[in-house]
């Protein structure tokens, strides 16, 4: 399940962000009549089609896997947090229809209508993403029911959807999707420019993707701060695990790096910034931050994994923010940097960073919630299917997803290799 989601999150991030890049390139084509923009749009639309198809099937599989793996969870949770899923069904359906119009609609509709269908693909994809994250947020911040004697009463699906965590999580995830996709796409095009292939084509593509990625990368730390403050209040155990914060204290220090020693409840080899954790969690250097000692042992999430994942996410995020600042400085003041190889090399190096951060962030939110599947309501162990041999099912899906990922990568490689013959014959 986690693995399917791990793949799905990549497919769907790209599937929901690329249409926006595509729409921008398409807009420039319609406005400037520069055929390079048309070629970029077409090339990207192939990518969107590939990712949408894989995102759609992996999404279909997930909607079944929820039941196949967690029947007990779905039996109770389905009616409560189903609202975003039923709306998401609509958004996803619209996306499929709009994609049909867009991909097959060249030269057959009014050109602005055709452009508009491309925008709809992006907007509905984004909505689907937000809705699914709202459902996940509910698992972190259950709402919309009363849990009395093991029974789920007074269910209110709307209140469940608009739970306390939905906004901060959706904002963080949406920006993350833009950062990750922007940097990944920009990196690939930067590599092609460095190789001296189809320079105009790749320069234009690079610029659109880089600007999207960089704007989001600069905004992301702000949304991260909102999330951190939110988690500090709602899920102190998760925050404590993220920070490997074992002991409750005021003026708590922020721990950077280090290896958590779960047995002796300390962190070795870490840099400590006194008071900063208190500041990040509650906006005050003196405030008290709950540590793992205040939380019963059986409710502790795995500290090492959560802490490492969190460090990786933040590290990657910071690196990309730095690159983004350099890029904007270049755009604004230092035009000569834009064509220099080192800047492009920097982007090539940053290609995978966004998605590593996305996966790490996903690990933080899921592992950090353990041992609960519904925070403080149902334990993950109680939700799993009674069927024996479930591990085989897991291996099977792992194999399938890994091969899917390989094939998608292979397809993209072939698309990129063929740019010269398919999309940009001039050079």
């Amino acid at each position: 399940m986690a693995l399917s989601l791990g793949f799905h999150i990549i497919f769907s991030c790209i599937g929901m962000v690329m249409p926006f890049f595509m729409a921008v390139a398409h807009y420039y084509w319609l406005k400037t009549d520069n055929v390079v923009f048309k070629n970029v749009t077409k090339a990207w639309s192939k990518g969107v089609a590939i990712f949408f198809a894989t995102g759609a099937v992996s999404g279909t599989v997930l909607s079944f896997e929820l039941g196949l793996l967690w029947p007990e969870f779905m039996k109770h949770a389905g009616p409560i947090f189903g609202m975003p899923f039923s709306l998401e069904g609509t958004a996803f359906f619209i996306e499929a229809i709009a994609l049909g119009f867009f991909l097959y609609g060249w030269d057959r509709f009014n050109k602005w209508f055709h452009w508009f269908t491309g925008v709809i693909v992006g907007v509905s994809g984004l909505l689907s993403g937000i809705l699914v994250v709202a459902a996940n947020a509910w698992m972190n911040s259950p709402a919309g029911f009363d849990f009395v004697d093991g029974k789920y009463l007074n269910i209110d699906p709307i209140q469940a959807m608009l739970n306390d965590a939905w906004f901060s999580q959706a904002l963080h995830m949406t920006l993350a999707a833009f950062v990750a996709t922007g940097f990944a796409v920009a990196g690939v095009h930067a590599l092609m420019i460095l190789k001296g292939k189809n320079i105009h084509f790749h320069t234009k593509s690079f610029k659109i993707a880089a600007i999207f990625g960089c704007v989001a990368a600069i905004l992301q730390p702000l949304s991260g701060d909102i999330s951190a403050k939110d988690v500090a209040i709602r899920q102190p155990a998760k925050l404590a695990a993220m920070e490997a914060h074992f002991k409750t204290e005021s003026s708590a220090s922020l721990i950077i790096g280090g290896i958590p020693d779960e047995e002796n409840k300390k962190v070795d080899y870490a840099i400590k910034l006194p008071g900063f954790l208190s500041f990040l969690a509650h906006g005050d250097f003196k405030s008290e931050v709950t540590g793992l000692d205040k939380i019963p042992e059986e409710n502790h999430p795995p500290v090492t994994v959560t802490h490492f994942a969190f460090q990786i996410m933040v590290g990657m995020g910071m690196a990309m923010m730095l690159i983004a600042l350099i890029y904007f400085l270049a755009l604004w003041k230092k035009k000569q940097w834009l064509t220099s190889p080192w800047l492009l090399k920097l982007f090539v190096a940053a290609t995978p960073l966004g998605f590593i951060a996305v996966e790490a962030g996903w690990t933080v939110t899921e592992v950090g919630r353990q041992p609960w599947i519904i925070y403080n309501v149902m334990r993950t162990a109680d939700a799993v299917t009674p069927m024996p041999g479930i591990a085989y099912s897991f291996y099977l899906f792992s194999a399938v997803y890994i091969s899917l990922a390989i094939i998608v990568a292979f397809m993209l490689y072939r698309q990129i290799k063929m740019v010269g013959t398919l999309y940009d014959k001039a050079e």
Binding site: K46, A49, I50, F52, A53, T54, A56, V57, S58, G59, T60, V61, S63, F64, E65, G67, L68, P71, E72, M74, K75, A77, G78, P79, I80, G82, M83, F85, S86, L87, E88, G89, T90, F92, F93, A96, I97, A98, G100, F101, L103, Y104, G105, R108, I155, D156, P157, I158, T385, M387, P388, S393, V400, L404, I407, M411, R414, K417, M418, L422
Partner: protein, 340 residues
């Protein structure tokens, strides 16, 4: 609201059977086409389903979301006891969807195409086979909540003659729907005749599999005859389906193609109606006479209201857009053979 939700559930199953079924059928036809004709078949197929195939498969998602939001007990029971066929069906869905996309978007055309085509055709057969097996198992009375061995709980819940025959019947219906659908897409007599032969083949196959289903039901003491012929709705549906089938064939031989698709759709609708009408609202029949009912095993009132509302709002957006999509590509089809 409850009945609105149930209507949506039934309608999305029907639409999935019709549209998704025709889609699977197209792959099944490819499997049963001689090598020299494969290219024409493939291109007709692409021209016919290219723009809408993603949308066709959304109906399954809608149906499954309705089940897990509105009828969680039914969803989780099926998920537990039919874990294996569901998993195989999912693998089929993954393989088919990706192979179909890949063969059109692979920038280099080489031997990989052969692989995509094989995967596409084979998974187009397996997926509806297992969809049929799942549907058959649900009403077969073989699902045993009290089972205590792995075989009885997770294997014999779905592996028996009745469900397998239902699976084969589903495959034949998909092939039939697709051939009738594709007749309307052809531009010359030769191709038209080829798809007409295919339609004939799958029509006969469906009748044979249908008989097999009844025999299996008889052997396994499933009162299928009672369900289908024991009430007026069932009898009228079966008679009108048969009459419309005769009418459809006579139209086809006269070369009148306009009504073929609606008639084939009507027949399949009638089949779904007869097989679901009698045991409504019981959607899953368990071993020992227990059942899971859409009226009893449903979510709380507020859930059903929110779900119904979401579905109504959704259909306001989805249906017009979907009709316009189908309409625009019917009016001016993609190139034939397909343009690239």
């Amino acid at each position: 609201m409850l009945y609105i939700v149930i209507t949506f559930l039934w309608a999305s199953i029907l639409l999935y059977l019709l549209l998704g079924g025709a889609d699977y059928g197209a792959g099944i036809i490819e499997l049963f086409t001689s090598r020299k004709n494969k290219d024409v078949t493939r291109q007709t197929l692409y021209g016919a389903i290219g723009p809408i195939w993603e949308a066709n498969h959304m109906w399954l998602i809608i149906a499954i979301v309705i089940l897990f939001v509105g009828f969680p007990v039914i969803y989780s029971t099926m998920s537990i006891h039919l874990h294996i066929p569901l998993t195989i069906m999912l693998l089929g869905i993954i393989a088919r969807g990706t192979a179909f996309t890949f063969r059109h978007y692979d920038a280099v055309v080489d031997d990989m195409q052969y692989l995509y085509n094989t995967i596409f055709a084979v998974s187009s057969f397996i997926t509806p086979l297992f969809l049929g097996i799942i549907a058959g198992s649900a009403v077969s009375g073989h699902i045993d909540p009290a089972a205590d061995t792995f075989l009885s709980a997770y294997i014999f819940s779905w592996l028996h003659w009745f469900s397998v025959s239902v699976g084969l019947f589903t495959v034949a219906i998909c092939g039939f729907l697709a051939s009738v659908y594709l007749i309307g897409e052809t531009k010359n007599d030769q191709d038209r005749l080829r798809f007409a032969h295919k339609a004939q083949f799958f029509n006969i196959a469906a009748v044979l599999c249908g008989i097999l289903v009844f025999i299996a039901a008889y052997i396994e003491h499933i009162p299928l005859l009672e369900w289908v012929f024991g009430n007026w709705v069932g009898r009228i549906a079966i008679i009108s389906a048969t009459l419309s089938l005769v009418w459809m064939w006579s139209l086809l031989y006269q070369g009148k193609l306009a009504l073929l698709r609606p008639l084939a759709g009507f027949q399949v609708t009638m089949i779904l109606l007869t097989t679901t009408y009698k045991h409504f609202p019981n959607i899953v029949i368990l071993k020992g006479g227990g059942y899971l009912s859409l009226l009893e095993h449903r979510g709380q009132e507020k859930t059903m209201e929110a779900l119904g509302l979401a579905l109504l709002i959704g259909s306001v957006f989805i249906l017009p857009a979907l009709f316009y999509l189908i309409y625009s590509f019917q009016k001016k089809p993609l190139g034939y053979p397909a343009e690239h």
